[in-house]
């Protein structure tokens, strides 16, 4: 009798180890989209415990390599898919739907003790960060005549971070093109520490990190010198990122769903859940949600199964998502 009990107990115990999932959704890709997708997946697991969702982190490029070989169902990306990656997908017969899920704004910050920087223009940022500035632009006075002669100390993303790629492309005009004589770190806490304790410091990193350290830093309004966006310098915020007035320093984040997976009812369930919960969850993990309208159009794009990229290998710096999405859906 005792033995029987034990046996039954063991059976119950082991059966939970070999839990059978009805379906499996494999996701991989960008580390900066990971927090969003993982947050969605966590919530989704509670609603649909029989669907197994795994989210990996192998970078946007690494994620696309697996995705275009058909190894994953969904790929996280902090930039649009490139022409080369599209070609690789075509060769393997993979088609995909591109869905924007959030915005990430780049915060340009100075120390709270800095009392002279009221705003910066994109061309001033370019003057500071372009490779030619290396060893030359060393004082704030060189940036703008009205600034005092305070040494300019720079803090920015390390060379292997996606933020570095994006910032250099948006500001200097070419990805990975930057001066090298600044404090470069992949650890945003080092940058926060550096800028906050340095009167002449200037730094940039993801907006999420600014929000966590808002008391220690001063956010710099940016003038993108594009009269279509209004003439006044703009602070990054949910509103200014969404309406495009924060200009080139806001980037959209994407997920790519393979067309084959999009026909799977479980994946359809997941994407529906993703789009419904993104506004809340995106904000929770420190990013900026798209407008309700944009999520709606993006979801329609998925339902209509419109394949291909909206960008066709063009730059995604400072794009108006709603406009593009709408024109694509028609």
């Amino acid at each position: 009798m005792k033995k029987l009990f034990l046996f039954a107990f063991l059976l119950v115990l082991t059966s939970s180890c070999f839990k059978k999932y009805d379906a499996k959704i494999t996701i991989d890709g960008s580390s900066s989209v990971y927090p969003i997708t993982e947050a969605v997946a966590e919530e989704f697991r509670e609603v649909e415990p029989d669907i197994r969702v795994t989210v990996g982190v192998s970078g946007t490029g690494g994620g696309f390599r697996k995705f275009t070989r058909g190894e994953t169902d969904i790929s996280n990306a902090s930039r649009p898919i490139t022409a080369i990656e599209i070609k690789a997908a075509q060769e393997n017969g993979i088609e995909f739907i591109e869905i924007p899920v959030a915005y990430d704004g780049l915060a340009v910050v100075v120390s709270t003790e800095n009392d002279f920087v009221d705003y910066l223009t994109i061309s001033e940022l370019k003057k500071i960060w372009e490779p030619e500035a290396q060893g030359v632009i060393k004082s704030w006075k060189q940036v703008r005549e009205s600034f005092p002669d305070v040494p300019l100390n720079l803090y920015g993303a390390g060379t292997s971070s996606g933020t570095y790629d994006y910032f250099t492309e948006a500001v200097v005009g070419k990805a990975k093109s930057s001066r090298g004589d600044y404090t470069a770190s992949e650890d945003d806490n080092v940058l926060v520490q550096g800028v906050s304790t340095d009167k002449g410091g200037l730094g940039y990193f993801g907006l999420a990190y600014y929000s966590e350290n808002a008391g220690k830093l001063k956010l710099v309004p940016i003038d993108d010198e594009n009269p279509e966006n209004g003439t006044a310098p703009v602070l990054p915020s949910a509103a200014s990122v969404n309406d495009g007035s924060y200009g080139p320093l806001a980037r959209p984040e994407f997920i790519y769903v393979s067309l084959k997976a999009a026909n799977d009812p479980y994946v359809q369930k997941f994407i529906k859940f993703y789009m419904e919960n993104a506004p809340v969850l995106v904000e929770e993990v420190g990013y900026i949600p798209l407008s309700k309208e944009a999520y709606q159009i993006a979801y329609e794009r998925f339902l209509k199964k419109i394949p291909g990229s909206m960008f066709d290998d063009k730059s995604h710096v400072g794009v108006d998502l709603i406009k593009i999405l709408r024109s694509e859906n028609e």
């Binding site: 490779p131 290396q134 060893g135 305070v150 040494p151 100390n153 390390g158 060379t159 292997s160 990975k176 093109s177 930057s178 001066r179 090298g180 004589d181 600044y182 404090t183 470069a184 770190s185 992949e186 080092v190 520490q193 550096g194 800028v195 906050s196 304790t197 340095d198 009167k199 002449g200 410091g201």
Partner: protein, 306 residues
């Protein structure tokens, strides 16, 4: 009967011999570990450094004043890292040597026994503090204080890291110098007193010159400790290679650069990755020269009073 005993004792003797042999072998193995490790490090450093210098001119490496190997416009002049290392080391040494030496003289010549019993363990505690703690101490405590004196001081700077590193190596200087002072024969001290010299004269004119070899060795060991120190400078001195001797600016040391690259995701086997081996061998050359000097000083002057 006696034969049997002889046989028995032979067996135990043999057993003992084998045992001895095994022990000897284990001892040899243990001491070989250090030699093999050193040799292994040198081999690995040279192999990758050789590959590095196939692509980068050795002249540019040792004379260039810009170090940006991770960026698009690659510059491979290690001088900014060397000046960063030297700058923090000089600051640390100018704190540690005067204070450490003073402590050693005080403990050996002046201090009452009871005080010595308090000071010595306290110094040992100083040596037992993890360097990462020192680093944070420099960053969040010393730097803000210094900033109230020098308003233009940046958040990461050589001064604060160097000062705290100096405090960290005080025990190295003081305890080694104290050993050297204590090794001076008492007869010298007594002779000095006998000639009517004061305590101060005895300490500085007799004891220190007599113990000079040991003191020099302690200083050299402190320098090579400061050059190789990683955590304090990585946390508090900054990560920006800058060709400067201004202690108020942020600098990057050789060790910090190696940490920075090892922690990031630079692809293995790339030129960027090999820079850390070239930097490592530069560091190794520095400390190797210093250790050789201290070895030579020790050997040359040691026998004098023995």
């Amino acid at each position: 009967m006696s034969n049997f005993f002889r046989l028995f004792s032979n067996i135990t003797e043999n057993k003992a011999k084998i045992k001895e042999g095994i022990i000897e072998f284990v001892l040899l193995l243990c001491s070989l570990v250090t030699i093999i490790t050193t040799a292994g490090i040198i081999v690995i450093l040279t192999v990758d450094t050789y590959a590095f210098f196939k692509e980068v001119s050795i002249i540019e490496f040792f004379t260039g004043t810009e170090w940006t190997p991770l960026f698009e416009q690659k510059k491979f002049g290690i001088l900014p890292l060397v000046t960063g290392t030297l700058l923090t080391t000089i600051i640390a040494i100018s704190v540690a040597v005067p204070i450490g030496l003073t402590i050693a003289i005080y403990l050996n010549e002046y201090a009452p026994k009871k005080l010595t019993q308090v000071i010595k363990p306290t110094l040992e505690i100083l040596a037992a503090i993890p360097t990462v703690v020192y680093g944070f101490f420099a960053l969040v405590f010393v730097t803000p204080i210094l900033q109230s004196i020098f308003p233009t001081l940046s958040g990461f700077n050589a001064l604060s890291a160097g000062l705290v590193m100096g405090v960290m190596i005080i025990p190295y200087v003081s305890s080694l110098s104290e050993d050297a002072l204590r090794a001076v024969p008492n007869s010298l001290r007594e002779a000095s007193y006998g000639m009517g010299a004061t305590r101060f004269q005895t300490a500085f004119k007799v004891m220190i010159p007599a113990a000079s070899s040991g003191i020099i060795v302690s200083v050299i060991l402190a320098i090579s400790r400061a050059i190789g120190e990683t955590m304090i400078v990585a946390i508090a001195a900054g990560q920006q290679p800058r060709f400067t001797f201004n202690p108020l600016e942020s600098v990057e040391t050789i060790t910090t650069y190696i940490v920075q690259v090892s922690m990031g995701d630079v692809p293995q086997g790339s030129l960027e990755y090999r820079t850390i081996f070239a930097a490592g061998i530069t560091l190794f050359i520095f400390t190797f020269i210093l250790n050789s000097i201290s070895f030579w000083v020790k050997k040359k002057y040691q026998e004098r009073y023995e």
